[in-house]
């Protein structure tokens, strides 16, 4: 059960980050040079894979599993809560939704303004694509390493992340400039809840908590957190709507 949840969490987290990276790659490719943008992407993906392969096995070898789980759990809790907070603020209308089409247009305009140097490789497209994929991918590396190492399923987590990269790549190639149709905030909310659930479970295990139902407790934590977070945000939005309504009534 927890393996399925792990696969879903890694897949969704990677997909969200890859949608953001893809926007940058598409902008660099369509405004400058497709070849250089793809080369930058390929180098970044290789660098990220090297990071996972370089750090992952050595951490498992040299750090005791209970300490590793505690540290990873704490990291996931902080990371997950930051992610969830942003997603919920967007859900409550307190933060603008991430609009990939708008970001794409801005990036294209910015890149077109940079003069092209007559060379076989467009270094701007290469660097922009590399930086976009590498920086967005670093978060994927952290998710893969933390979830994969704690569950002793680094390979499964890596394959799940790679599948997300491929799926997002294919969808990106098909829909090209319609990335705003991806329900990014819903995906971010789901991943945020999953990350804090895994974080609670592993930080707890590292501190000696024996969870009832063993790994099954992760699913219970997901349900409890999802319910409470939605209650808090829904409660807030309905109070705010009522306040705005009564205020309008008083003025009118």
């Amino acid at each position: 059960m927890s393996t399925t949840v792990l696969i879903i969490a890694v897949f969704l987290a990677s997909a969200v980050e890859m949608v953001e990276a893809l926007t940058i790659v598409l902008a660099a490719g369509s405004s400058r040079s497709w070849r250089s943008a793809f080369e930058g992407t390929a180098v970044a993906v290789l660098a990220l894979a090297a990071l996972i392969l370089g750090i992952g096995p050595s951490l498992v070898k040299y750090v005791p599993i209970s300490s590793l789980r505690f540290i990873i759990g704490a990291l996931l809790l902080i990371f997950g809560l930051q992610w969830l907070r942003k997603a919920m603020l967007r859900y409550a209308g307190l933060k603008a939704l991430h609009n990939e089409d708008e970001i794409f247009e801005k990036e294209v305009a910015r890149l077109k303004a940079i003069p092209t140097v007559s060379d076989s490789r467009d270094s701007t497209a290469f660097v922009v694509a590399f930086k976009g994929v590498f920086l967005e991918g670093l978060e994927v590396v952290i998710v893969v390493l933390t979830l994969g190492l704690s569950a002793h399923k680094l390979l499964i987590a890596s394959v799940s992340a790679l599948a997300a990269v491929v799926v997002v790549g294919i969808i990106g190639a098909v829909v090209a400039k319609q990335l705003s149709k991806v329900p990014e905030n819903l995906m971010k909310t789901t991943v945020g809840i999953m990350l804090i659930s895994f974080g609670t479970f592993w930080a707890g295990e590292g501190l000696g908590i024996k969870w009832p139902g063993s790994d099954g407790a992760i699913v219970f934590l997901i349900l409890v957190y999802a319910m409470f977070m939605m209650l808090i945000v829904k409660g807030f939005t309905s109070v705010r709507a009522n306040y705005a309504k009564s205020h309008r009534g008083a003025i009118g």
Partner: protein
């Protein structure tokens, strides 16, 4: 030096960023749970309630910030 600075900046942005209250709250909650000792039956509930309380606090801190900004803008 540039890479060392970049490395620390990445971890600072990743762990603290614009929400130091989340990091601080999680450190405090984990310390409390650790102090309760292994096998204490209150460890799990305190951890879960602490995480929910941290989320609520982080959410409403931002709400308060936005409200203050809106008031100042009037």
């Amino acid at each position: 030096m540039k890479y060392v600075k970049g490395f620390f900046k990445f971890w600072y942005d990743f762990l603290i960023g614009d929400t130091p209250e989340i990091t601080l709250a999680i450190v405090v909650i984990l310390a409390v749970v650790a102090l309760l000792g292994k096998g204490n039956r209150y460890q799990a509930p305190i951890l879960v309630v602490g995480v929910i309380a941290t989320f609520s606090m982080a959410f409403f801190v931002e709400v308060a910030k936005k409200a203050r900004k809106a008031k100042a803008g009037k």
